[in-house]
C-alpha cells in the first residue's frame, strides 16, 4: 500500500509505519521525532479505524432494508 504503485496516485503512508520510522530517531539521536504521529493519537486513530471495520454499516443498512420491507 505504501510502496509506489507506479500508476495510481499513492500519497498515503500508514500512521503506524510513520510511527515505526520515527523510532529510528528515538533509538539514536532522540531529536526531531517530528513525523511521529504520537502514540496516543495513533491509538485513537486505530480505535476509530476499528470501529469502521467492526460496525459494518452495510449490514446495518441491509437490516434496515429488511425491516422496511417487513
Amino acid at each position: 500500500m505504501n510502496r509506489h504503485a507506479g500508476n495510481q496516485p499513492n500519497l498515503m503512508i500508514s500512521p503506524t509505519r510513520l510511527f515505526v520510522y520515527a523510532q529510528a530517531f528515538r533509538f539514536s539521536s532522540g531529536r526531531g521525532r517530528c513525523f511521529s504521529p504520537g502514540l496516543r493519537t495513533l491509538l485513537s486513530w486505530y480505535i476509530a479505524h476499528l470501529q469502521r471495520i467492526v460496525i459494518d454499516r452495510a449490514a446495518l443498512k441491509r437490516l434496515r432494508l429488511r425491516i422496511e420491507r417487513a
Partner: protein, 691 residues
C-alpha cells in the same frame, strides 16, 4: 407501491432502465446530484468552513467598533443565519430549507456588515468557487448520462441543497453535466425538500408526469427511495459501498487533522490523492508517478513556504538559479495574483570558481578540485577553475610533473606548491580569472541582479556557494542588492558567514535548525537535483555576443552531457508529475487553508519513506538516472545500481566501504527482504551523525 430497489452501480441502474424502456413504461428519469452524480473530495462542512476562512480574510473591514473577523466568528454567524432561515420556513408551513441568496445578506448583517451587492457577490462567488474545487463527477456517471440522453426520455436533477438553482446550474456547467440535464430542481427554490415528498409533488405538477412513468435514482435510502416510492414513483437507492467507505474515511481524516503533527498533512494529502484519482488520468510512467507522488509533495511544500516568506518579506525581483531553479520557476509562474517579477539566471559553481581566481589561485583553492574521488590532479584544477590547460601544461613539466592528469593523493605535494608559487602560472590564472569575473559582472548587471535593490535567489541548495561568492566578489559595489536566498535545503558546511544583507534560509531543511528529522533531503541530494533540473546543459562560462553577455553551456559532445541527455525524457516525466501535483496542491491550499508548517511533518515522513525505505522498483528506476556535477569535471555519478546481498553482510569491511562511498546508501539494501536492514542502518547513521 413500487418495489424498493437497491443497485450498487450505474451499470445495474442502466440494466433496470433498459427493461423499463422495453416495456415503454418510462418517460422521466430524475437523479440526485450530490454523492450520486457528483462526488466530493471533502465533506460539505469542511467546504463551508473553508469559505468562512476565506471570507474572514477577504471581507473588507467595517466600522472601527466592529469586532475583527475570524474564521470561527464567520462560521458562527453563518450557522445562526442559517438556523433562523430554516426556522422561518418551518413557521411558514414549508420544509426547514433555506436559500443561499437569502442566507448571505443575513449572514453579513450578523457580521456587522451591510449587505452591499459587492459583498454579497464576494460571499456567493467564494462559496461556489470552493464547491467547484471540492466536487468531481463520479466514475461511470458520464457514460450513463450519455446513454440516457440517447433514449428520448426526460432527464432532470433533483437535489436537497441550500444553493440557488442558478448557482447549482453553474456548478453543473463547470463539471460538464449541464447539457445532459433538461432541468434542475432544488429544495432551496421552493423551500420544499425531497425528504417530505413535497419537492417530488411540485415536480410532478410542473412536468405533468404520472408517477408510474417516473424513476428516481439517488444515494439516500429515505429521500431518494422510500419517499418517492410512497408517492408511486419508482425510487432506486444507489448504494456504492466504496463511495460510502471513502466518505467515512474523509470524515475520519478530517477529525484526526485536529490533532496536528502529521495528521493535518495526512488529511491534506488524502484530499489531494482524491483529486488526483478522480480528475487526472492514470499514468504507467514510473518517473511521472514519482514526480507526482514523492517529489511533487516536497517541491510544492517548498513553494508554499517560499510564498509565505515572500508575503512576509517582499522582494523586488526573484531569481531562479540555473539549473535546479528551473522547475521552481515553472511552479512560481503558474501562481495566480500579484507576485514579484521573476527571472532565470545562468550561474553555476563552475563559473563562480572561474571568476574567483581573479586575484590568483591559493593552495586551499586548488585542493577543492581534489574532493572528487576521480580527480586527475592538475587537469582537475584546470577544469574546476576553467583554466587554459594548453598554457599551463608546459609550465607543469618544469616543476616535475610528468603527466598533467596524474592524480594527486598528497594534497601538500611539493611539485604542486612550486607550481602555484610560479609567477608565470599565477599570471596566466589571474588573467583568465579577471576575464571570467568581468564577464560575470556584466552578465549580473545585464540580468538586473546588480542594481536590483532587494532580490530573492531561489535554488535547490546546498551550501549557498553561489550566493556566498557573489557577495564576496561584488558586495563592495554600491548597487549590490540585499539578497534573500531561499533554498530547498540549506546545509552551510563550507561557510558560516555570508556577510551583511545576505540572508539564507532552507525551507524544507536548514541544518542550523538542528532537527535531525528534516535532514532527509541531504541524504539523497541527487534525486532532488535531478527532479528539479532544467534540460539544458550546465553553464560553463560567458561570452560577448552582439553587445550582450550570453551564457556558454557545456558542449553536447562531453561524455557526461551525452549521458545526461539520455535521461532528459525521465526528467521531463518527473517535471510533468510535479506540475500535476502542484496544480491540485494549489486548489487544495484554497480549500484547506493549510500552510507549509502544517504540511511539513507529514512531508518529512513521506521523504523518509522514499529515501530510507525505497521499494525495489524505485531503486531500480531511480538509479538509472545519470547525475552530473557542475564543478567542471566530465564524470557522472553512480547513484547505486549495485545493491548488496545477504553474503555482503558477512564482510563488514567491504560493507562499510560500500556504505561510505554510496551516493544513495539506503538503496544498497534494496534486495534484502523487509526494511529491517534499512531501519538498522538508519539508527546507525543517525548515531554517527550525532557524534
Amino acid at each position: 407501491m413500487p418495489d424498493k430497489l437497491v443497485y450498487r452501480d450505474w451499470q445495474s441502474v442502466r440494466h433496470y432502465l433498459e427493461q423499463r424502456l422495453r416495456q415503454r413504461s418510462l418517460r422521466l428519469v430524475s437523479l440526485d446530484l450530490f454523492d450520486t452524480l457528483l462526488g466530493r473530495i471533502d465533506t460539505p462542512e469542511q467546504v463551508q468552513k473553508a469559505c468562512c476562512r476565506e471570507l474572514a480574510r477577504l471581507l473588507p473591514g467595517a466600522a472601527s467598533d466592529t469586532p475583527l473577523l475570524t474564521p470561527d466568528s464567520v462560521w458562527q454567524a453563518r450557522q445562526q443565519a442559517e438556523a433562523e432561515l430554516r426556522q422561518q420556513a418551518l413557521q411558514q408551513g414549508l420544509d426547514p430549507e433555506c436559500r443561499f441568496s437569502d442566507l448571505v445578506p443575513r449572514w453579513l448583517e450578523k457580521l456587522g456588515r451591510k449587505p452591499e451587492p459587492a459583498q454579497v457577490c464576494l460571499c456567493i462567488d467564494t462559496e461556489v468557487r470552493l464547491e467547484k474545487l471540492a466536487l468531481y463527477v463520479k466514475p461511470g456517471v458520464r457514460t450513463f448520462l450519455n446513454w440516457l440522453a440517447q433514449q428520448g426520455i426526460g432527464i432532470i436533477a433533483i437535489s436537497d441543497m441550500y444553493l440557488d438553482r442558478l448557482l447549482l446550474e453553474s456548478l453543473l456547467e463547470d463539471k460538464g453535466l449541464q447539457p445532459l440535464l433538461e432541468q434542475v430542481f432544488v429544495s432551496a427554490e421552493r423551500l420544499k425538500g425531497k425528504y417530505s415528498g413535497r419537492l417530488f409533488q411540485a415536480v410532478m405538477r410542473q412536468r405533468d408526469i404520472a408517477p408510474a412513468h417516473w424513476v428516481h435514482v439517488g444515494d439516500n435510502p429515505v429521500s431518494d427511495r422510500r419517499i418517492p416510492c410512497s408517492l408511486g414513483i419508482q425510487g432506486i437507492w444507489l448504494y456504492e459501498k466504496a463511495e460510502l467507505r471513502q466518505r467515512e474515511q474523509q470524515q475520519l481524516n478530517a477529525a484526526m487533522a485536529a490533532h496536528g503533527s502529521i495528521w493535518r498533512g495526512r488529511y491534506f494529502f488524502s484530499l489531494l490523492q482524491q483529486r488526483l484519482l478522480h480528475l487526472e488520468p492514470e499514468s504507467d510512467d514510473f518517473y511521472f508517478s514519482y514526480g507526482r507522488d514523492v517529489l511533487g509533495a516536497a517541491y510544492s511544500t517548498f513553494m508554499l513556504g517560499l510564498q509565505e516568506r515572500l508575503r512576509r518579506q517582499p522582494v523586488q525581483r526573484l531569481f531562479f538559479v540555473a539549473r535546479d531553479g528551473f522547475l521552481f520557476q515553472q511552479m512560481y509562474q503558474s501562481l495566480e495574483g500579484r507576485r514579484p517579477p521573476d527571472d532565470y539566471i545562468y550561474l553555476s559553481r563552475k563559473v563562480i570558481t572561474a571568476a574567483s581566481v581573479a586575484d590568483g589561485l591559493s593552495l586551499e583553492q586548488a585542493q577543492v578540485a581534489f574532493y572528487n574521488p576521480k580527480q586527475q590532479g592538475l587537469l582537475s584544477i584546470c577544469k574546476v577553475y576553467g583554466l587554459p590547460e594548453n598554457r599551463l601544461e608546459p609550465l607543469a613539466l618544469q616543476h616535475g610533473f610528468t603527466h598533467f592528469d596524474e592524480p594527486l593523493q598528497n594534497w601538500q605535494d611539493q611539485r604542486l606548491q612550486a607550481f602555484l608559487a610560479d609567477t608565470q602560472v599565477q599570471a596566466i590564472i589571474r588573467q583568465n580569472g579577471r576575464t571570467q569575473r568581468n564577464l560575470l559582472e556584466t552578465y549580473l548587471a545585464q540580468a538586473g541582479f546588480l542594481g536590483g535593490g532587494h532580490v530573492g535567489l531561489v535554488d535547490i541548495g546546498w551550501n549557498g556557494t553561489v550566493q556566498k561568492f557573489l557577495k564576496q566578489a561584488f558586495g563592495e559595489r554600491a548597487d549590490y542588492p540585499v539578497v534573500n536566498g531561499y533554498y530547498f535545503a540549506f546545509v552551510p558546511k563550507m561557510y558560516s558567514d555570508f556577510g551583511s544583507n545576505n540572508f539564507c534560509e532552507g525551507i524544507i531543511h536548514d541544518s542550523r535548525r538542528d532537527n535531525a528529522c528534516e535532514r532527509i533531503p541531504a541524504e539523497f541530494e541527487e534525486i532532488f537535483e535531478q527532479g528539479a533540473r532544467s534540460l539544458e546543459a550546465t553553464t560553463v562560462g560567458y561570452r560577448r555576443l552582439e553587445g550582450r553577455v550570453e551564457p556558454v553551456l557545456k558542449s553536447g559532445h562531453s561524455p557526461d552531457r551525452m549521458a545526461e541527455v539520455t535521461c532528459n525524457r525521465m526528467v521531463t516525466a518527473m517535471h510533468a508529475g510535479v506540475m500535476t501535483h502542484w496544480k491540485h496542491f494549489l486548489a487544495l491550499r484554497q480549500l484547506t487553508g493549510c500552510n507549509s508548517s502544517d504540511l511539513l511533518p507529514y512531508v518529512y515522513g513521506m521523504l523518509e519513506r522514499a529515501v530510507v525505505y525505497p521499494s525495489r522498483e524505485e531503486t531500480r528506476m531511480l538509479t538509472r538516472l545519470v547525475h552530473t556535477e557542475d564543478f567542471g569535471h566530465d564524470h557522472v555519478l553512480d547513484l547505486g545500481r549495485h545493491s548488496l546481498g545477504l553474503r555482503d553482510l558477512l564482510h563488514p569491511r567491504t560493507l562499510l566501504a560500500s556504505l561510505q562511498q554510496a551516493t544513495w546508501r539506503y538503496a544498497l539494501f534494496a534486495q534484502l527482504p523487509t526494511g529491517i536492514a534499512n531501519f538498522a542502518l538508519r539508527i546507525a547513521y543517525l548515531h554517527a551523525v550525532r557524534k
